[in-house]
Structure formats: structure tokens, C-alpha cells
């Protein structure tokens, strides 16, 4: 008579299958975007084409996407490490801000150091500031059982206010005509470009750290312990794994990586600290980490795609007068369809005919 569904857990989730689900999810989000464009009275197919061209259609576009992918990649790598332990670090945004602050402080106070001293010092400052901003919620979680999602989220606002305070106040460039920004960094504090193009050496840093994190998570004792603890804390306690130490470790690493993103963005892209540095990379990083299923290699790919989305939407804005928030809507749609799709990876649905 009627139809019934039976939902059961898949016994052997297949790689290929989960790849197809991922593609279908991204496809579905594009279809919804097209419908949204249509509903605005804009040509939907041309819109998607423009988006694609704007992101990957030319050498200039590719370069721009790649540059924007750098901070997203580093932040995402960081949150992925924390997510592996099932510590929900939503605070990459704030840790990124603190990293930028730390690096800027060094750049503004020691502008005359040679580049090979100054830039490593900036990197260390970004590591320490971002790392400590990540450690704080970890300590609160372990000591007072505070929820890390809420704490990391709130710390984002504190970090942004701190950054605003500095660039509107003590660090403001006296010759900026009242604009909230610091002085330009000295040439020694700016990460150099590779050859004649716009790409900077930060890309290389990303490649190296990406490989290292991949090795760390997959082939070391600590990487294994993070995974095992993340899947099942109870079993980890039984196996006497150091859960508290792992929480501190992943949050410090997570914060430090976001801090590096802040350093590179301030140094290589803006050459100074200003409020526009807060472009939401820390939140995009969460989408990227999920898209990539916390795998460092896929994070590189997903970071590039979502950076491309940002660049492409700028194009769309110019050509079709689409509001800037359209990019955020797309980002949100992708995350939602991918999360929804993961249901079909873990479970299967069968139709039962009822007699």
C-alpha cells in the first residue's frame, strides 16, 4: 500500500561514492545559485560562466585566486587539526587577527632589521600570538569545562576589537589623513614576490607546511593519537592517551597556523595593518576543512576553489551588479549541501514496499 523508508548505516563506505556525493552537493549548490540569480532577473547561465571565468579564466584570475587561497589554506589546515580531535575551533578568524597583530608589532618596531632576521621574527611573533589565542580556549575547556565553540567564537570579536583599537589608536599612521591604518611596513618586512608576478613566497611556505601536517597527521604517533582520541575519548582514556595535552597541542597549532595566515596577509598583501585585513578567511576555512574532509591535501584544493569563488564573485559584482554578499551566500550553500550530502555517505536509504 504505502511506501516506507528504511535508513541504515553503510557497512563499507566507498571512496568513489563519497566523491560523487561531494560533486553532486557542489552541483546542487550551483543550481540553487543559478535559481537565485534567475530570481533576481539576472541571466543565470551567463552568471555562472562569468563566475568561472573571473575565478580561473585567465592567468591574472588564477594568480589572484592563488593569492587569496594562501590565508584560507593556512587557517583551514589549522582548524582541520583541531577538528580531527573533535575540538571545534571556530576561532581561526581571531587567531588570524592576533597573528597579524604580532607580526605587525615586530614590523613596526624593528623596521630596519635585515629581511632574513625581520621576517622570521615576524613569523615567530605571529606563531606566539596566534598560538596563545588558540591555547586560551583550550585551557578554559580543560580547566572549567567551557565550551570551546562559544569561547573561540567570542574571542574572534575580542581580537577584531583589539585590532581596531590599535589601528584607530596607538598604531595609526600620523600621515594617513585619519584613515585607520598603520604606517607602511619597511621593505624588509614585506615577503618578496616570486619573479615578476604577483605571487609571493608565502605559497612555498604553504606547500611545505601542508606536507608536514599531512605527514604529522598520517604517519606519527601524535597524529594517530589525535585521530583515536577524536573518534572516541573513552577508548583513548582506556589506552592512557594524554587527552588534555593533545587538546592544548592542537589548539596551539591551530592558532599558530591561522597566525601565519595573518602574518602573510599583512606583510605580503597589504604591506600594513588595516581593518580590511579581516575578510572572513577564518570562517571560509571551516567550510574548506569540511569540504576536504580534514585531509591536508584536499584542503589545498578546496582552499583554491573557495578563493576562486571569492575572486569570481568580484567579477560578477562588476558585470551584473550582484551584491557582494552573494559570495557568502554561495559559500554557505556549499557548506550546507556538503554537510547534507555526508548523510548519504554514512547512511543508505532503501524504499520498502509495504504489502
Amino acid at each position: 500500500m504505502g511506501m516506507r523508508f528504511k535508513i541504515s548505516r553503510r557497512q563499507n563506505p566507498r571512496r568513489l561514492h563519497s566523491g560523487l556525493v561531494l560533486l553532486a552537493a557542489v552541483g546542487l549548490s550551483l543550481v540553487i545559485c543559478a535559481l537565485l540569480l534567475e530570481q533576481q532577473g539576472k541571466p543565470s547561465l551567463r552568471g555562472l560562466m562569468l563566475l568561472f571565468q573571473g575565478a580561473f579564466g585567465s592567468g591574472w584570475a588564477l594568480q589572484d585566486s592563488l593569492i587569496k587561497a594562501v590565508p584560507i589554506f593556512l587557517c583551514s589546515l589549522g582548524v582541520a587539526i583541531a577538528f580531527r580531535l573533535q575540538i571545534w575551533n571556530i576561532g581561526a578568524e581571531g587567531q588570524y587577527a592576533l597573528g597579524a597583530l604580532g607580526a605587525s608589532w615586530v614590523a613596526l618596531h624593528f623596521p630596519d632589521l635585515p629581511w632574513f632576521v625581520l621576517q622570521p621574527a615576524m613569523l615567530v611573533a605571529a606563531t606566539v600570538c596566534g598560538g596563545l589565542w588558540g591555547l586560551l580556549p583550550a585551557v578554559l575547556k580543560l580547566r572549567m569545562r567551557a565550551n570551546e565553540i562559544i569561547i573561540t567564537l567570542m574571542l574572534n570579536y575580542i581580537a577584531i576589537f583589539l585590532l581596531d583599537y590599535l589601528v584607530y589608536g596607538p598604531w595609526k599612521d600620523p600621515s594617513s589623513f585619519g584613515f585607520p591604518m598603520t604606517r607602511m611596513f619597511s621593505q624588509n618586512a614585506v615577503v618578496a614576490k616570486i619573479g615578476a608576478g604577483d605571487l609571493h613566497w608565502g605559497i612555498l611556505l604553504c606547500l611545505v607546511i601542508g606536507m608536514l601536517v599531512w605527514i604529522f597527521l598520517g604517519f606519527t604517533r601524535l597524529g594517530y593519537e589525535i585521530r583515536a582520541c577524536g573518534e572516541n575519548v573513552q577508548a583513548a582514556r582506556y589506552a592512557r592517551m594524554p587527552y588534555a595535552a593533545l587538546v592544548l597541542l592542537v589548539m596551539a597549532a591551530s592558532g599558530a597556523l591561522a597566525g601565519w595566515a595573518g602574518f602573510l596577509e599583512a606583510s605580503a598583501s597589504l604591506n600594513r595593518l588595516e581593518p580590511s585585513i579581516m575578510a572572513g578567511y577564518g570562517y571560509t576555512a571551516i567550510v574548506v576543512a569540511w569540504l576536504a574532509r580534514l585531509n591536508p591535501l584536499f584542503i589545498g584544493l578546496a582552499a583554491f576553489l573557495l578563493a576562486g569563488l571569492r575572486v569570481g564573485v568580484e567579477q560578477l559584482q562588476l558585470e551584473l551588479q550582484i551584491p557582494a554578499s552573494f559570495g557568502q551566500i554561495m559559500e554557505g550553500l556549499i557548506l550546507m549541501t556538503v554537510l547534507g550530502g555526508s548523510f548519504f555517505v554514512t547512511y543508505q536509504i532503501r524504499l520498502l514496499k509495504k504489502e
Binding site: 604517533r221 572516541n232 582506556y238 589506552a239
Partner: protein, 518 residues
Amino acid sequence: MSLPSSAPAAPILELDGISKRFGPVVANRRIQLKVYPGEIHAVLGENGAGKSTLMSILAGRYRPDTGRILLDGQPVSFASPAQALARGIGMVYQRFMLVDALSVVENLLLGHARGRFRLDIDAACRKIASFSQAYGLAVDPRKTVRQLSMGERQRVEILKLLLRQARILIFDEPTAVLAPPEVESFFRVLRRLSRKGHTILFITHKLEEVLQMAQRISIMRQGALVATLTPRQVSSRRELARLMVGREIVLNVHKQPSNAGEVILAAEGLRARDDTGQVLFEDIRLHLKKGEILALTGVAGNGQSPLAAALAGMPPAFEGRITYRGRPFENSRWQRRPKPNMVYIPEDRHTTASVGPLSLTDNFLLTRLKNFRRQAHLARGRARLATGDILTRYGINAPAGPQSLARQLSGGNLQKFILARELDRRPDVIIAESPTSGLDVRATEEIWRLLLQQREQAGVLLVSGDLREVLALADRVAVMFRGRILATLSTARAEQVARIGLLMAGVPEKANRHAIEA
């Protein structure tokens, strides 16, 4: 006492040939049971006898595989607890189903305030007050559940059922969580409910309660209903205990007499409390010799589990002293000390001893990490070979070898894998908790054989409430009741074996109060 069974009344509820399996485990086998209106009916049995399953079937939580339920003579079938409750059958589970952060009245309105837009808390409070009054269920409707004692929470659960007009109330181990004075007031409530025409079914393993409260007693053993009696037909507690525990003991494994050596693990004056200050175990003195299997037995919840964990160096923290290979340890030093030659097999094989979504290799590494790393590097390749090796040697059936996920294994294979992982370390002390619970006969036998083999080079502490298992394996049995070891008996002597069941049920011994050190 009036006996409803002598009255010509028709049964309000009848179970006709109810059977229920969970995978290979038969939880209920062709149960026939009649329950009469207004009676207090006890369902007595050991852990795992199938009582809770049977009651959950009645309450609509499970569906029987075969058989019929007749309510007022009409066959009924419940797809959910809500449907059972709509027909007047409600159950109070051992773990209360209340929202701690909400008030009593809010809990009682949950799922009950449908159809009305305005939530009239005052009217609900008045209604609750009148019910409380009528049934003697004193509880302040405005209090938050978190502030309530266990007894008060239980009253809220009863009110929840009464507000939904339940006629048949089922209780799962209702006194397990109550302090002694609360037990008395709970019994008064039961009698009042019965006088007002409600039918009561309660699950228990406590003999005294049964004789004190029940008008009829049904006894379950290994999934079957073995007898239904009135208290008058029971000549003694001893007889009730015998019916509950059973006499027939099947020995599937051949056990050589033990060849016990030196004491390897000993405990003196051990005592621990839980977070709320309740005593978990106290006054514990025991010793385990190399070459023997010592069983720690008792009905679940009498302290065996926390004691085993403490002996294995896990929480809870204890006072007193543990001696291992002749060296004494206090709690903090014991918990911190790595114990490479001591293995602990916890009861919960799915979420404590293994990680379901990880491969068997990764699960193997869970406790064997030390053998497979060089500085920071993890020798996963070598671990995979070692995992493959134990899979073959122990005959573990894994669909994709070492790469299979732990959750893909059947319960028996997973348990064999966990044992293999631990035994492969050649331990000198093995603490195994309910190692065969939920396993089928074949897997049980294989686990038993593995443990018996270990007796050659190790001391085995077997924590089990399954008497069949205890008698099949153990050389000595320590019986725990309410956190204490009542006696340590030898399984080689029939007159001592006969006392185990009674001791488990907490029946005080009159004749011989001295613990026998075998």
C-alpha cells in the same frame, strides 16, 4: 493479603508465546504470562535473564518476533512507547527519562501540552498537586529536576504516567537507585496505586523486595519464564534464589585443577567513592596468584566494575594499597605507573576497548603503540603485519583483514581481537570484565578457552555476574554485595558453590559467617 490470582477475574494483560532475538542472542523464549488487574507482580531474574527485554516489549519499545500480547482480552501491537501509553501501559526505566534542566511541571507537560497555544503552568501545577495528593507522591512541581533526589525523580516519572492515565505501570529495577528510606516510601506508593486499581509490574533481582511486596512472582532464567508463584508457595528465600540462579551448570570447557604459584596482585583495605560521595566499594582485601583464575562476582552494580577498573589503574581513585609483584602502591602512584604486563579488558568492547570507525591496525595500536614507534614516527606498516598475524593466529574473521573497520566485526570477533591484542603482550595479570556478555555459545567457548590458556603464565581476575561462566573458569570466587566482598569460596567444593547464588542476592549467612580463604 488477598490474592487476585484466586479471584475469578479475567487477566488484564496476557503474553502468549512472546519470543525476541537480538542477532544470535535469544532474549525471550516463548513467554507465557498472565497479569491480573490491580495486582503487584514481580519479575525476578539475574542480569541478562531477559526481564528488561520482556518489559520493554510490553511498553512498546521493542516488537516481539513472535507471539501475541492481549490487553483486556484483545490482541494489541505497539509500534512505539507512545502507542502503548495511549492504551494505558507505561514504563519507568532504570535511567529516568527526564530533562534535568527543566522544572517538574515542564517535564510533565513535555509532549503533553499539544494543541494549546498558551502554556498554562499554573493550571498544570494545580492538576499535578491534586494527583500528588491522591497518590501520596509529594513533589514540588516548580523545582528543577536537577535539584531533586532520586526518589523524587521517580515520583515525577510515576506522575508522568498517571497524568497520561496509565493503568498498567512497569518499573525496571525501581529500588536500584533509591536510598533505604526512599525504598519504604516507594513501597507505600506502590500499595496505594494497587489499591486504586492500577496494575503494577516490577523487575528486580532482590529477593527480600519480592517477598515483601509482590502478590505474584514470575521468575526468568536465560530468556525463559521458569515459574510463576505466590509468596505463600515460596518456602524460603533459598528456594527463590535457587530458582533464579538455576542449578544446571553446563561445563563446555575442560578445566585442569589449578597450579597456583606466588601472589602477583593483592589489595588491602581498598575503598572508593563516586562523585556524589556514595561508596563504590570498601574494605576490599583480595589476592590473585599466578596460575589461577579468581572470579569477582555479584549482581551488577555491587561494586565489581569500579573495583576492577581501580585494580587496573583506571579511575575511580581509591584509598588503601595495591601490591603488584611484591611492590606496594598508593592510588596516585598506581594510576600513573605504566603496566606493560598487566592487561585490562573492559566490559564495553565497542566504545571503550575499541574505536569503531578506525581500522583494526589502528585499534591494535590503541594499546600497543609503544611497540610500534621510533621517536615520533609510527611504524604503521609493521603494526599492520602484526595485526594480520594475530588475525590468523586467533582465527578472527575480519572482512578486509587488518584494514577492516572495528565496527564491521561481529561482537564475538571483536572481543577475540581485543583479547588477542592484549594477550599477545604475554601479560602476567589479566583483568577481564564480562568478557562474554552478549556473545553466542561458540564465541563464548573460544573466549573461555583463551582465558584458561592464560592461566599457565598469568593470574586472571575474571569479573562476571554470569555464574555459568564463573563456575566454568574460576578456581576461586569472591562474591560482592553492596561494595563489599562477602566471601571468597572455592569452586572445587560443592558445598561452597551452593552458597554463591545466595551471597549474590545478599542473603546473610547465619551458619558460617567467616569468609573462607580457599
